[in-house]
């Protein structure tokens, strides 16, 4: 009987009315919520008129009068305005959905939350997961999304040492930087050579640390070993000590003339009969600098893999090996058929993150030999990887900000593309529980 008396709310109407945020809620009878949405909209509109529209205009022109207009600030303010507008649009969608949902709820239950108290309680109950993740998204918005967006946009400008605002204006140049990078001979040769070494570096250094980590874990996990704890402490030291300390120390030890490697290790090797090794030009010959870098990264990075793989090994049930023993499997068969598949199954996603980590491993390249020796044009040294080249492009005496941004974008596309494909291949996504 009561249902007949009650006037039905039109879900469609509630949704349509919400295009002016808040009206739909008021139609549903939620006055307080409606006013809150209206106020938020009013604040946004005032912001848009006073700050937003000039910001968009400045963003499009990037300034017309040098000194008065600071192109860089205009670019950044425009980007901020894009983010603010995006947040408002999200709120708009949320508000339309909310109005529709409440209208439906009204039609089925016959009442809605009107009081501030019940609305807050409802928000607490259903909005709890959002509430807990808001801090993470808020920080990421300003520290990751915003800078990445600015970098992305900067790649389409001509911001370099000829165009330093406010004395000069920056302009949009479209794809010019990318064209330069891929087709202009000077930059192309630098880019190709740096990219080539970056890929070799990533593959060799990461594979080195994974191989040593797995090997060490498998060997030191054997039951008969005395002093396991002692060895474990030693093997963890490279991870425990801050990386910059060890890298800078190694940088000193690999010194061509007075470093410990040439002075002590090599001369010790020469005591072995029939072995003669002369001093190695670690810091002046690109090949040897690269060799040293890969060895040091293997040294630095293997403990992480060692700890993780040890954990996996300890979780492999003994029955598997006992069954293999009964079947007469030898050590190598047991390793390739049981141990290795178990390790790879459990840790493949982490291995991928290790590759992306080394792809962008700035510290070791820069602190060991500043990307030197020599140079391959465009300000890059022979051991510079893309990320350290970017650093040099932005901090050098003749900065090339726009080109650096373009390189950053290329890096990101490579890393994200390759990782997503391998994640898919290793079925990291397929586990329902995980997603």
């Amino acid at each position: 009987m009561e249902v007949q008396k009650m006037k039905k709310k039109s879900v469609r109407k509630a949704g349509l009315l919400s295009l002016i945020p808040g009206i739909g809620q008021i139609y549903n009878g939620q006055l307080l919520k409606g006013i809150a949405f209206l106020v938020a909209t009013a604040i946004f509109l005032i912001e848009l008129v006073t700050i937003g529209i000039p910001a968009f205009q400045g963003f499009i022109t990037l300034g017309t009068v040098p000194i008065r207009d600071h192109s860089l600030f205009l670019l950044v303010k425009g980007t901020l305005q894009i983010i603010i507008t995006f947040i408002f649009v999200m709120m708009l969608i949320l508000n339309v959905n909310d109005a529709k949902k409440v209208a439906k709820q009204y039609n089925t239950l016959g009442n809605v939350n009107r009081s501030a108290r019940s609305i807050l309680k409802n928000m607490w109950e259903n909005g709890f997961p959002y509430l807990l993740t808001i801090p993470a998204y808020f920080v990421m918005l300003f520290v990751i999304v915003f800078p990445v967006l600015v970098t992305l946009l900067m790649a389409f400008t001509n911001y370099d040492f000829y165009h330093i605002p406010p004395a000069k204006l920056i302009d949009w140049v479209g794809l010019q930087n990318f064209v330069n990078m891929f087709f202009l001979s000077a930059y192309r040769s630098t880019f190709v050579s740096v990219l080539g070494w970056t890929i070799i570096w990533t593959l060799l250094a990461t594979t080195g640390q994974i191989a040593l980590g797995v090997l060490t874990a498998v060997i030191s996990n054997q039951k008969f070993i005395v002093g396991k704890k002692f060895f474990r402490i030693i093997f963890l030291l490279p991870w425990a000590i801050p990386a910059f300390v060890t890298i800078m120390s190694f940088s000193n030890m690999f010194n061509d003339s007075i470093g410990a490697i040439n002075q002590q290790v090599i001369s010790l090797l020469n005591y072995i009969p029939y072995v003669h090794v002369s001093d190695i030009p670690w810091k002046t010959d690109p090949f040897w600098t690269k060799t040293a870098l890969i060895m040091i990264q293997t040294w630095l990075g293997f403990p992480y893999i060692f700890v993780m793989v040890t954990g996996v090994l300890q979780s492999i049930p003994d029955d598997l090996y006992e069954a293999a023993n009964i079947d007469g499997a030898n050590v190598i068969q047991k390793f390739t058929k049981i141990t290795l598949p178990m390790i790879l199954f459990a840790t493949a996603p982490v291995f991928i993150t290790q590759y992306t980590f080394n792809f962008n491993n700035f510290s070791i390249i820069y602190l060991f030999n500043s990307g030197g020796p020599g140079d391959v044009g465009g300000g890059a040294g022979s051991t510079d990887i893309l990320i350290s080249w970017i650093y040099k492009l932005t901090t050098g005496t003749s900065p090339q900000y726009a080109l650096a941004s373009a390189v950053t974008i290329v890096i990101s596309i490579i890393v994200i593309g390759v990782s997503l494909i391998t994640f898919k291949k290793t079925h990291a996504f397929s586990n329902e529980e995980m997603m």
Partner: protein
């Protein structure tokens, strides 16, 4: 029969010999460079290069010089302030987000998780220019809080994944029974799940704390004045100038900064195994 027995015995001896040989050689490779650095910290200050010197004269002169003639203590204090605030903020944010993605099913959850995974791969430190301009606009250059927020932001995506993985391993039955008993969201989080996640939270805290100690790039770029520098940037100055290398002082400073971190690391390392395998291996 007897020959077979002895051959397996030889085999076993051989495999054990190789195992210990591997362990010992690897240990030497790890300890040798570290020992050199430690020893150089106590060597005379006119040292030019690190070598292992069995006849050296042990002295504390480098440490005295470090405290009296350089800003080392200030750098140490700066690094501590940044590291501790990074640790507190990051652990709170990451724990809350990881818990949410593990326990709640809500609209946008899957997209959120993919967003975390993808954003984690973007080399944010390549966006140096953007950080610089942002810092300029909001007056954050040469300020600790700005650098701290940059560290926190960079640490969120990956660590949220690891945290979520750990919460996934904590059984949900407890939550359910507590809910039936009338416990709310907050009580289930604070009284049931947080205590169980303590090992992982400790690991997260240690990593967040170690981050600023190990970073060179961002602190060198965003903190400009000498009295605001972190230890990494300050120490690098000792060896950056080829004409005036103070390697013994560098070694002394490195030794001092490493001690507390290494101790913390080994106190908490028992938790690493479960944290790492739980977080990274659910696939």
């Amino acid at each position: 029969m007897k020959a077979l027995f002895s051959s397996t015995k030889i085999n076993r001896f051989f495999s054990r010999f190789c195992t210990y040989l591997f362990l010992i050689v690897l240990s030497i490779i790890i300890i040798y460079p570290l020992l050199i650095t430690v020893q150089s910290a106590f060597n005379s200050s006119d040292l030019t290069a690190f070598t292992l010197d069995p006849h050296m004269h042990w002295t504390l002169a480098n440490f005295k010089q470090l405290f009296s003639q350089t800003l080392y203590l200030t750098w140490f204090k700066n690094t501590m302030i940044i590291a501790i605030s990074t640790m507190i903020i990051q652990v709170i944010i990451v724990t809350l987000a990881g818990y949410t993605y593990s326990r709640y099913r809500f609209k946008g959850r899957k997209n959120g998780l993919i967003f975390f995974l993808v954003i984690q791969m973007v080399p944010t430190m390549a966006a140096l220019t953007a950080y610089f301009v942002l810092g300029l606009i909001i007056n954050g250059l040469d300020q600790y809080w700005f650098l701290t927020m940059v560290y926190v932001g960079g640490g969120i995506p990956m660590n949220t994944w690891l945290m979520k993985g750990y919460f996934d391993t904590i059984p949900r039955d407890l939550d359910e029974s507590a809910r039936i008993d009338g416990a709310g969201h907050l009580r289930i989080l604070l009284q049931i799940n947080l205590p169980l996640a303590m090992p992982m939270i400790a690991v997260q805290a240690l990593w967040a704390f170690m981050g600023p100690f190990g970073d060179y790039l961002l602190s060198a770029f965003l903190l400009r004045s000498p009295e605001h520098m972190t230890v990494a940037v300050g120490l690098q100055q000792f060896i950056a100038d080829p004409t005036n290398q103070r390697v013994a002082m560098f070694a002394a400073g490195s030794f001092l900064i490493s001690i507390p971190i290494v101790i913390l690391f080994f106190l908490l390392q028992r938790n690493f195994q479960s944290g790492l395998t739980a977080g990274g291996t659910k696939g």
